[in-house]
C-alpha cells in the first residue's frame, strides 16, 4: 500500500467543536483563571445585546460560587426577551450558531461562538451539563434545559428538558460549572466595573463567593438598538458577493441597487460600466471571473460612505462622563464622540474620554480603558492599536509627563464602535492597526489633551489665588506685627489691605493664651445673616456672643453661631479653649468667603 493510501485512512473532516477543544486559547479559554472572565463576558455580552434588541433596561445578575474543590458555578441571569424553547439547545449547544453574524450593525457578540464555547469548556473540565432557563413572556411558561455539545458532530445534546415555574416574566438564566480559580478576581471586578461604565443604562448585581455588590445604572434611557444595514460595495469580499449573487436571479443593476447600501442607479451603472458587464445580465449567470471583475469595479467606484447613524450606537459624551464619574472620583472628566468614519467599507466611530486627579494614583502610568462595541478589552494591552495611539500622542505639549503612555493621575478611555471591529485575533482582546481608526483615536485624544491642559492651568490659577489669599490673610498680619515692633509704633491694622484685595468675607481663627478668637471681616458686599459651624473639643460655654446651638458627641462639641455680619465691618467670636477642629461658614456663596486657620 502506498503511503498516500495509508494517510488517506487517517484523513477525515474535523468538527468545529473538536477544533475548538484543541484550540481553546483562540476563544479566550487558555487558562482556568481566564475561563471565568471569558464565560461571564460572553454571557453578559449576550444579555446586553438581547436587552437592547428588546428595548428594556438591562438588569443583570451575576453569581460565582465555589461548589467543589476547584469547580465554580457561574450564573448569569438577565431580563431580556428570552429565547424560544426550540432554539435554546442550538444557541447554547452548537458552536457558530447565532443571529447576528449575518447582520451589518454594531453588536457585542457576533459569531455565536462565545457562550457555547463556555458550555463546551464546562463539559470538558467538570462534566456537569449547562442549565438554561428561559421565558419569553408572561403568557408563556419557562423552560429548563440541561445541555451539552456532541463534540464529534457539533450538535446539541439535550439531557433534560422541562417546563417549569419561574418568577421572572421574561429573561434567560444560564448556569455553567467548570474548573477554575479565582486568581483573577480583581480583573473580574475590573471587567464588570468597566462594562458598567460603557453601559450606563444597565444594572449589574454581583455575588462573588459571599460578597454581594451592585453596579448601579446612571441612565434611565433605553439605548437605541442599532439597525442592520446592507453591505457597502467597498466592504464586501468575494465569498459574500458570490453567495449573494447566486442567491437570486435579479438583473445586475437591480441587484446592486437593492442589495447594497448607498448604491443608486447612477453608481450601479458606473459599476456595470467599469466591470464591462451588461446591467441586465442575471446575477446567477455570472461566473467566478466575471464576479471578480465585478468586485474590482465595486471597490473602485465612487460610492458615498455607508450610513452610520442607525447601525452604530455610540455611548455619547454625557453618558461616558457620568459612567466614569460613578466609578472613579476624579477632579476632571472630558469626553469626545467623533463623527463616524469608514475603513474598507465598514462604518466606525471613535469615542474617547480623559479623567484627571481626584483619587487616581499620582505616580506611574495612566490607566487605560479600551472598549470595542461597548465591551471592555481586558488583555493584550500592549498589542492593541489603541495603546499605540495613546503613546503616539505628544502628551508633553499638554503639560503631561510621558513615558510611552502618559504618566500621572490620568485615566484614558477609548471606545471603538464599528459594524466590524478589526480584532487581532478571535479572542477579541486587541484592536488591529487600521490607519483610519488610528487617525480618529489620535485626533480625539489630542482634542481631550487640550481640554485637560486648560483645566490644569485653570486649576493652577485658582491655586495662585489661594496662595495670594494665604499671604494676605495670614502672613501680612505677622509682618505688620514684627515691623510695628521694630519701628516702635502701635500695631498697624492690615484689614484694609485684606478688604481691598479680597472682596470676601474673611474668617480668621486663632488661638492665643487659652483664648480662641474667630474674626469675621466682611468685605464681600454680602449683607445678612451667616452661620458659623465649628466642631472641636472646646465647649465654648463662655463664648461672646453666646453659642446659638451646641451638641456634644464623644468629647467633640458641634457649635453654631448665627451672626449678622454687616458689610465692611469686623465681628468677633471669642471663648476659652484650645482651638483646633473644623470651622465652616454657611449662608454665603463659596466664592465670597475665605476661611484661614492661623494656628495651622
Amino acid at each position: 500500500m502506498v503511503l498516500a493510501d495509508e494517510l488517506a485512512k487517517q484523513q477525515r473532516s474535523i468538527s468545529v467543536a473538536e477544533f475548538f477543544e484543541k484550540n481553546k486559547h483562540l476563544l479566550g479559554f487558555d487558562s482556568p483563571t481566564r475561563g471565568v472572565i471569558t464565560t461571564i463576558k460572553e454571557a453578559v455580552d449576550n444579555a446586553l445585546d438581547a436587552c437592547e434588541e428588546a428595548r428594556v433596561l438591562p438588569d443583570i445578575f451575576i453569581s460565582i460560587k465555589k461548589t467543589a474543590n476547584d469547580i465554580f458555578r457561574i450564573i448569569v441571569e438577565d431580563n431580556g426577551p428570552g429565547i424560544v424553547p426550540a432554539q435554546i439547545p442550538f444557541v447554547f449547544g452548537k458552536l457558530l450558531y447565532g443571529s447576528r453574524f449575518h447582520q451589518i450593525r454594531q453588536t457585542r457578540g457576533q459569531q455565536g461562538i462565545g457562550i457555547s464555547a463556555a458550555v463546551l469548556y464546562a463539559q470538558l473540565t467538570s462534566g456537569v451539563p449547562t442549565i438554561v432557563i428561559s421565558r419569553t413572556g408572561p403568557k408563556e411558561s419557562a423552560h429548563r434545559f440541561e445541555i451539552q455539545i456532541q463534540i464529534e458532530t457539533n450538535e446539541p445534546d439535550i439531557l433534560k428538558s422541562e417546563a417549569i415555574e419561574w418568577d421572572r416574566i421574561h429573561g434567560t438564566r444560564v448556569q455553567i460549572e467548570f474548573k477554575s480559580t479565582m486568581a483573577a478576581r480583581k480583573k473580574l471586578i475590573e471587567y464588570l466595573r468597566y462594562t458598567s461604565i460603557v453601559n450606563p443604562h444597565a444594572r449589574f448585581r454581583v455575588e462573588l463567593d459571599d460578597e454581594a455588590f451592585t453596579f448601579e445604572r446612571v441612565s434611565q434611557e433605553v439605548i437605541a438598538c442599532p439597525v442592520a444595514i446592507q453591505p457597502h460595495p467597498h466592504g464586501i469580499e468575494f465569498g459574500q458577493l458570490k453567495r449573494m449573487a447566486q442567491g437570486g436571479s435579479e438583473r445586475l443593476l437591480d441587484f446592486l441597487v437593492n442589495g447594497f447600501s448607498r448604491v443608486g442607479k447612477k453608481s450601479a451603472q458606473e459599476i456595470c460600466d467599469r466591470a464591462g458587464l451588461e446591467p441586465t445580465i442575471k446575477t446567477d449567470s455570472l461566473d467566478t471571473d466575471k464576479l471578480k471583475t465585478l468586485l474590482a469595479a465595486m471597490q473602485a467606484a465612487a460610492v458615498p460612505a455607508p450610513p452610520s447613524s442607525q447601525c452604530l450606537s455610540p455611548i455619547g459624551e454625557e453618558l461616558i462622563r457620568r459612567g466614569l464619574d460613578k466609578e472613579f472620583q476624579m477632579d476632571f472628566v472630558a469626553a469626545r464622540t467623533r463623527a463616524s468614519s469608514v475603513f474598507s467599507g465598514h462604518s466606525f466611530m471613535v469615542e474617547a474620554a480623559i479623567g484627571y486627579g481626584g483619587k487616581l494614583t499620582a505616580d506611574g502610568n495612566a490607566i487605560l480603558l479600551r472598549f470595542a462595541n461597548r465591551v471592555p478589552l481586558m488583555y493584550q494591552q500592549g498589542a492593541c492599536a489603541i495603546t499605540d495611539c495613546v503613546s503616539r500622542v505628544n502628551w508633553k505639549s499638554y503639560n503631561i509627563s510621558q513615558q510611552g503612555l502618559p504618566t500621572g493621575p490620568i485615566l484614558i478611555l477609548v471606545h471603538v464602535a464599528s459594524t466590524n471591529v478589526p480584532f487581532t485575533s478571535e479572542s477579541k482582546d486587541a484592536i488591529a492597526s487600521i490607519p483610519e481608526i488610528e487617525k480618529e483615536v489620535v485626533l480625539a485624544l489630542q482634542d481631550l489633551g487640550r481640554d485637560l491642559k486648560l483645566f490644569v492651568s485653570h486649576r493652577d490659577k485658582n491655586k495662585l489665588a489661594e496662595d495670594r489669599a494665604r499671604a494676605v490673610c495670614a502672613i501680612i498680619p505677622e509682618i505688620a506685627e514684627k515691623v510695628s515692633e521694630i519701628v516702635e509704633k502701635p500695631i498697624v491694622d492690615t484689614s484694609p489691605i485684606e478688604g481691598k484685595l479680597m472682596r470676601k468675607l474673611i474668617v480668621k481663627k486663632s488661638t492665643r493664651a487659652g483664648k480662641v478668637t474667630i474674626e469675621l471681616a466682611n468685605y464681600s458686599g454680602f449683607d445678612g445673616e451667616i452661620s458659623v459651624y465649628e466642631i472641636s473639643a472646646d465647649s465654648a460655654s463662655d463664648s461672646t456672643p453666646r453659642v446659638d446651638f451646641v451638641s456634644e458627641m464623644d468629647g467633640q462639641f458641634t457649635k453654631v453661631w448665627k451672626i449678622l455680619a454687616p458689610s465692611r465691618e469686623v465681628s468677633r467670636i471669642s471663648y476659652s479653649g484650645k482651638g483646633g477642629g473644623i470651622l465652616e461658614i454657611r449662608g454665603i456663596d463659596d466664592a465670597k468667603k475665605m476661611v484661614v486657620d492661623l494656628d495651622v
Binding site: 505677622e478 505688620a480 514684627k482
Partner: protein, 362 residues
C-alpha cells in the same frame, strides 16, 4: 568709616526699610521691596573704580504671594534681630543667626544659604557690609606673614602685632572684621597673595619674605571677604603692589579675577573688596612650557572654563588671550607645587626672582 559710623548707618537704613513697610501697610498697601537683580546679567564694569558692580536692573518683591510675603517676613525678623544686636553690642556668626531663626516660626530659614542670601540683600539695600550688622562668617580668614605692623582692637583690648616678630610660623590670622585694624607701619616692597598653603609655607620656610621684603598672604583657595578686604586695605593704605600667585588652571585664574575685580555674589561691595591693582604672577601657562613643569591633561570642563574666560571682560587683555590660547593649545595644567620637581629652592631662588624682575618689581 569708623565703627560707630558704620553702626549708626546700618541702624538707620534698616529702620528706614522697616519704616517704609509700616507706612505702606498703614496706607492700605501690600508691603514691597525693590532689590537689584543678582545674576551675572546684571553685573557691570565700573570704569571709575575699575571693579565689577551690580547694574541698575531691579526686581520688586511684593508680599502678594505666600512666598514673597514669607521672604519679607523673614527680612523683618532679621532686621529686628540686627537692631537688637546693635543695641546690646553683641555679634553672632551667620550660622548662629540661622539657628536663632528656629524660634521665628513662619519666618524660620530653611537652609543657611537662604539666610546668607538675605543678609547680602540687606547689605545691598543699606550699603553697609555685614560687619556693620555685627554678623560675620564662622570660618576665620586666612593668614599673613611679613614685615608689617598692625594694631587690632580685640575684645580683650588693643594689641599691636608685628606680622613676623610677634607671630608663630603660621603667621597672623586675619580677623573677620578688618574695620577694627589700624595699619601702623611696614618695611615691605610688595605683597604676594598665594593660593595654596603648601606654597605659602615653602616661601616662609625658605625665608623669601625676609630676603625680598615681601608680605605673604595665604588666600586659602577662593579668598574669604575679610582676606580680600585685607589685600584692598594694604594696597590702598601703603600703596604696595599686590601679586597673585596661584595654580596654573582656569579655576585659579578666577581666584585672581575675584581679588582684582570682585565676585558676582559680592558685587555690591566691590569697591571695598577688590584690588584693581593686583597683578597676576603665575603660574602662567607659558611657565609650564618654559620650565618644563610636571603637568596634568586639561579636562573637558577645564577647556570649557578657559573658553568662557576668553569671552569674560575681566580677562579681555592681550596678555590673558595669549596665555589662555597657549594653554588650550598645550592642553596642560600644573599646580604651584610642581616647581618642587626642580628642587625645593627652585621657586624662591630662581622662578620668583626671575618673574618679579620681568614684572619690574625687583
Amino acid at each position: 568709616m569708623s565703627r560707630e559710623e558704620l553702626e549708626k548707618k546700618s541702624s538707620a537704613t534698616l529702620l528706614r526699610i522697616a519704616g517704609a513697610w509700616y507706612d505702606q501697610m498703614k496706607g492700605g498697601e501690600i508691603p514691597s521691596i525693590s532689590l537689584p537683580t543678582r545674576t551675572k546679567y546684571n553685573i557691570e564694569f565700573d570704569d571709575a573704580s575699575e571693579v565689577w558692580k551690580y547694574g541698575d536692573k531691579e526686581s520688586l518683591r511684593t508680599a502678594a504671594s505666600a512666598k514673597s510675603a514669607t521672604h519679607i517676613l523673614k527680612m523683618a525678623y532679621v532686621i529686628g534681630f540686627i537692631k537688637q544686636q546693635l543695641r546690646e553690642n553683641r555679634s553672632s556668626t551667620l550660622r548662629e543667626m540661622y539657628y536663632i531663626s528656629e524660634g521665628w516660626k513662619r519666618a524660620k530659614f530653611g537652609a543657611q544659604d537662604e539666610s546668607n542670601f538675605l543678609i547680602e540683600d540687606l547689605e545691598i539695600l543699606s550699603d553697609v557690609p555685614r560687619e556693620g550688622f555685627h554678623l560675620h562668617p564662622e570660618e576665620n580668614g586666612a593668614s599673613i606673614y611679613g614685615p608689617m605692623r598692625i594694631r587690632e582692637e580685640t575684645r580683650r583690648g588693643m594689641k599691636t602685632i608685628h606680622c613676623q616678630d610677634d607671630v608663630g610660623q603660621a603667621g597672623y590670622t586675619i580677623p573677620n572684621s578688618i574695620e577694627n585694624i589700624e595699619f601702623v607701619d611696614h618695611d615691605a616692597k610688595f605683597v604676594i597673595a598665594i593660593e595654596t598653603g603648601g606654597m605659602y609655607d615653602r616661601l616662609i620656610e625658605n625665608g623669601f619674605d625676609e630676603e625680598h621684603n615681601a608680605i605673604l598672604v595665604h588666600l586659602k583657595g577662593q579668598p574669604a571677604r575679610s582676606t580680600r578686604r585685607m589685600l584692598n586695605k594694604i594696597s590702598s593704605t601703603w600703596d604696595l603692589p599686590v601679586l597673585v600667585f596661584t595654580d596654573g588652571d582656569p579655576w585659579s585664574y578666577r581666584i585672581y579675577g575675584s581679588v582684582a575685580y570682585g565676585a558676582i555674589k559680592s558685587a555690591h561691595m566691590s569697591e571695598l573688596l577688590a584690588t584693581p591693582r593686583a597683578q597676576f604672577l603665575g603660574l602662567q601657562p607659558s611657565d609650564i612650557r618654559d620650565y618644563n613643569l610636571p603637568s596634568d591633561k586639561l579636562t573637558d570642563k577645564d577647556v570649557e572654563a578657559l573658553k568662557s574666560e576668553l569671552t569674560d571682560p575681566r580677562f579681555a587683555t592681550d596678555y590673558w588671550r595669549k596665555q589662555i590660547n597657549l594653554q588650550i593649545e598645550m592642553g596642560l595644567k600644573s599646580e604651584q607645587q610642581a616647581f618642587a620637581a626642580r628642587g625645593l629652592d627652585f621657586v624662591t631662588k630662581k622662578y620668583l626672582p626671575e618673574r618679579l624682575a620681568e614684572m619690574g618689581i625687583l
